[in-house]
Each structure stands twice: as C-alpha cells, then as structure tokens.
C-alpha cells in the first residue's frame, strides 16, 4: 500500500446514472473534482446528492456511466482507493457504545493493519474543538454536533486526497460551523479535493471554489470562483443558492 503512487485526482464522473426501481435518481451526471479545491454540491432534498456521494465513496454501484480516479477508470472502489478517500454522511456513523477516542482508534488500527498511517486521535479531535474531558465518554452521550465533529475527525485523520462531506454542518452551532470551515480550508490547502453538500449557504459561499447545482438528478448549473472577480462569483453563486431555497442557518 505504500510507495510512490499516482494521484487519484482529478476525479471525473461521466454520464453517471442511477435508478431505484422506477425512480430515476441520477441522469447522466458529469462532474470533475480537482485537488486543492472545494466543490459545493447544492440541490433540494431528493435531488440525488446523497446518491452521488455514495457512488463516489464506493458504497453504491452506478447503473451507468464511468468513474475515473486520476488515471484509473474504476468498476469497484477498491481498498487502495478507499484508503485515499473519506466520507462523512449526515448521520455520524459512530459506534455509540465507544468513546470518541476509541472510535477513532478503531479505524486508525484498521488503517495500520492495511499498512496505512493515521494522525493521532487526540490531536485531530482537539483540532476540531472536542473538549478533552469528552474524549472517553461514550458517543451515545454526545450531542449531535459533538458526534458530527468526531465523524469529521475520523475522516480527516487519514489525510484523504478526496473528502466527501454530505451535510457536515448539520447540528453544528455557529462556532462549530466556523471551526469546521477552517478545517476544510486547511484540508484544501493540504491538497485534498473536497465535495461538500450543505444547506448552510453562508459557509458554502465562504469556503467553496465552485458550486454545482443538482436538480432532479442532473447538474443544471456550475459557477466557479475566478481569481479576478470575487464579487462576480458571489453574485452568480447567490443565484445558484437562491434556486435551492432559503438558508437553514439564515436566522442563526
């Protein structure tokens, strides 16, 4: 697993389609995720965002289309690829009976067993604002926001090249959102490609380099932050966000 490796970026999806029974969830989605870039994926509930995340994370095989990670066109997201990506769902997906530290250490040990490194659990957890006295408490006693931080800590501990974050700001307070936004920018500067879905429009505008609007399973609009015209990006991004609906955290 170690040694010189080809980068897995850019990640390119071509004509990805997915249906569940008769319901068509994704219709020919084309998407490119680049290194050192945060792409915001926005869309109304049911637009197909989570399905797209599952396909990128290797948790769902698309019915059609092509997934390319760097130079590789992949059928299965194999262990080598999974070692280099991390996925955070809107549910924290933690073992409720284990503490925050134990949750992270379990996954760190599993990585080590595969010959992969992982950042120390305490460092990552404290970096995301988890108090020291909460490290060994069972996750079942955590608030949703705290559990979400642990899930994020687990994701970034392996220094992933692709970070998939499906509504990570859910249940975070303003301070938590700000800390997470800072952590995302740090991950981007480290070189990660990040796909971020959220209804927190303010944070999306702040951190994203590109916004992609998904409507009824198809990408209908993309706007990119240009170096010369930040005001123009804000205006175009606001138009995209307006198409989704009101901001969840507008009143926060």
């Amino acid at each position: 697993m170690s040694g010189a490796r080809e980068p897995i970026t850019p990640i390119v999806l071509r004509s990805i389609s997915q249906r569940f029974g008769r319901k068509v969830v994704l219709r020919g989605v084309d998407l490119e995720l680049r290194a050192r870039s945060i792409t915001g994926l926005v869309g109304a509930n049911g637009a197909g965002k989570t399905t797209l995340f599952l396909i990128l994370a290797g948790l769902l095989q698309p019915d059609g289309g092509e997934r390319r990670y760097g130079e590789r066109v992949v059928g299965d997201i194999d262990l080598e690829l999974r070692a280099r990506l991390a996925y955070v769902a809107h549910a924290p997906q933690l073992y409720p009976g284990l503490g925050a530290r134990a949750n992270l250490e379990l996954f760190a040990e599993l990585r080590r067993a595969a010959g992969l490194s992982s950042r120390p659990a305490d460092d990552v957890l404290r970096g995301l604002g988890l108090p020291a006295d909460a490290l060994d408490r069972p996750v079942s006693t955590f608030s949703r926001g705290m559990a979400q931080r642990v899930a994020l800590a687990r994701a970034v501990a392996g220094d992933p090249e692709l970070l998939l974050l499906d509504e990570p700001f859910t249940a975070l307070d303003a301070r938590g959102r700000s800390q997470l936004a800072g952590a995302l920018l740090a991950e981007r500067d480290r070189g990660a490609a990040i796909l971020l879905s959220s209804h927190d429009q303010g944070t999306l505008l702040r951190v994203c380099d590109r916004l992609v609007l998904l409507e009824a399973g198809a990408i209908v609009r993309e706007v990119e932050r240009g170096g010369d015209d930040p005001a123009g990006f804000a205006a175009r991004a606001s138009e995209v966000l307006a198409a989704v609906g009101p901001d969840d955290h507008a009143a926060a």
């Binding site: 066109v73 299965d76 262990l79 769902a89 997906q93 379990l106 599993l110 067993a113 595969a114």
Partner: protein
C-alpha cells in the same frame, strides 16, 4: 501481494472481532438475550417431555437441539446488526480501507461465539434432562464437533442475509422470514448427523465430514456474495469501454496502440 492481502484480512478480522466482543462484553445484550431464551426453552422442554421414555425422546432430542439453535440464531443475527442499523456504522466500515471480507468474518465470528455459549448451556441441559442425550456426555469430542459445525454453517449463511438487510435498511421481521428457508439445509444436515451421533452410528465421521464440506461451501458463498450484497456488483465493462480504457491507458503511458 496475495500474502499481504491475507495478512491484512486476518489482522482486520481480528481487530473487528475484538471490537465486537468488547462492545458485547460492555452491555452483554446479545449473550443475555440468547442465554435467557435458551434457558426458558430448556425449561419448557423439560416440563413437556421429561416424563417420556428414552425410545420416545431419542428422535426428539436432535429436533429440540437444532430448533433451539435456529431460534437463538435468529435472535442473535437480528440483534447482531442492530448496532450497525441504528448508527449506520456498517457504511463507515464499508467506506474505510477495510477488507470487506473482514467485516463478514468478524460478524460471523462474534455471532458464532454467542451461539456456542448458548450451546454450552443447551447441550448439557438436554443431556441431563433426557436419557437419550447421555451420548453427548459419552462422546464429548464428536458432540463438540457436531455443535461447532452446525452453528458455523448456520452463521455462515445467516450473516450474509442479516448483513444484506442491515445494509439496505431492511426490517428485522424480514430477516426471520428469509433466514429459516436459507438455513434449512444446514439445519437438516445437523439434525441427521445428531441422530447418527445419538445412535452411535459407525458412519458418524462421514456425516461430520459432509457437514464440514457443507460449511466450506456456505462460507465460500457468504464470502463471495458479502460485498456484492452490500454495495452491488461492478457492472461488466462493455467491449467498447474496455477498448477506450486500454487506449487511454496506453496514451497515459506514452505508447501507441498496436494495429
């Protein structure tokens, strides 16, 4: 490469099994539910059948043994994936750099241990209650082999279906409906072998060998289908897509495609 993959599988399986057992030891949820159920069933069997003569209990004991294993197994498998179902941790494991087979091995291993704990109560219980069950005391090694092989086969196929339902958000109720038909062959085999044991049939090693062979098949099926059941199979690449992929790979390597 293959050796590394095997070592990784073994180490990750052990890590996950240790985690399963630690969580189980913390709340004893599965063990308590299953052993309590086993004791209740034993008590009911005693009240119902203890007065029967040996010749009448001889054909009943195998049925009592494997019927209880089937019920306890359903309870155990249903609850074994409750943690994953409630917190969706199965997806976290599936997205991590973990051999997916290790998840299967760990789950099947922990479920097998719970079933064996129940059998450690059940078999001596049946042996004490019914004269026909005396053979369990007389032939402890054969009895142990029978119980391990029977439970292993049950768990091998049961874990696959339980995981499929847990991963797909299926209902526990559905597991019971599916589990009984798919585990029937292994339970029938175990039933026949138990009868051979109680009869002190000289062909018992052959029966046990056939059970072991069935277990190998069921474990192979479980291992082979676990990943496709949970995340789906990769679609076969079309010939055109394969050609395109080859062209692009050659281009990336700076070579021309041979004509």
């Amino acid at each position: 490469m293959l050796h590394l993959a095997r070592v990784r599988l073994l180490r990750q399986s052990l890590l996950l099994l240790r985690s399963e057992l630690r969580q189980e030891l913390r709340d004893l949820e599965l063990v308590l539910t299953s052993t309590f159920f086993t004791l209740v069933v034993l008590g009911m069997f005693y009240l119902s059948f203890a007065a029967l003569e040996k010749k009448h209990t001889l054909p009943a004991v195998p049925g009592l043994l494997w019927l209880t294993v089937a019920f306890v197994g359903t309870i155990t498998l249903t609850r074994a994936f409750d943690r994953e179902r409630e917190a969706d941790t199965l997806r976290a494991l599936l997205a991590a750099p973990v051999e997916r087979l290790a998840i299967y091995v760990a789950k099947a291993g922990s479920t097998l241990l719970v079933l064996l704990v129940c059998c450690a109560l059940l078999v001596p219980g049946l042996a004490s209650m019914f004269p026909a069950g005396q053979v369990f005391w007389d032939m402890p090694l054969e009895t142990a082999a029978l119980v391990v092989l029977g439970c292993l086969g049950y768990v091998a196929i049961g874990t696959l279906f339980a995981a499929g339902l847990a991963g797909g958000g299926g209902k526990n109720m559905l597991l019971a409906v599916i589990l009984y038909p798919v585990t029937t062959p292994v339970l029938m085999f175990a039933l026949v072998t138990t009868r051979a044991l109680l009869d002190k049939n000289p062909n018992l090693p052959s029966y046990l060998g056939q059970m072991a062979a069935l277990d190998v098949i069921l474990l192979g099926v479980g291992a082979l289908l676990f990943e496709p059941v949970l995340v789906g199979a990769a679609p076969a690449r079309s010939a055109q897509a394969a050609r395109q992929h080859r062209r692009e790979a050659l281009r990336a390597a700076g070579r021309q495609e041979p004509r």
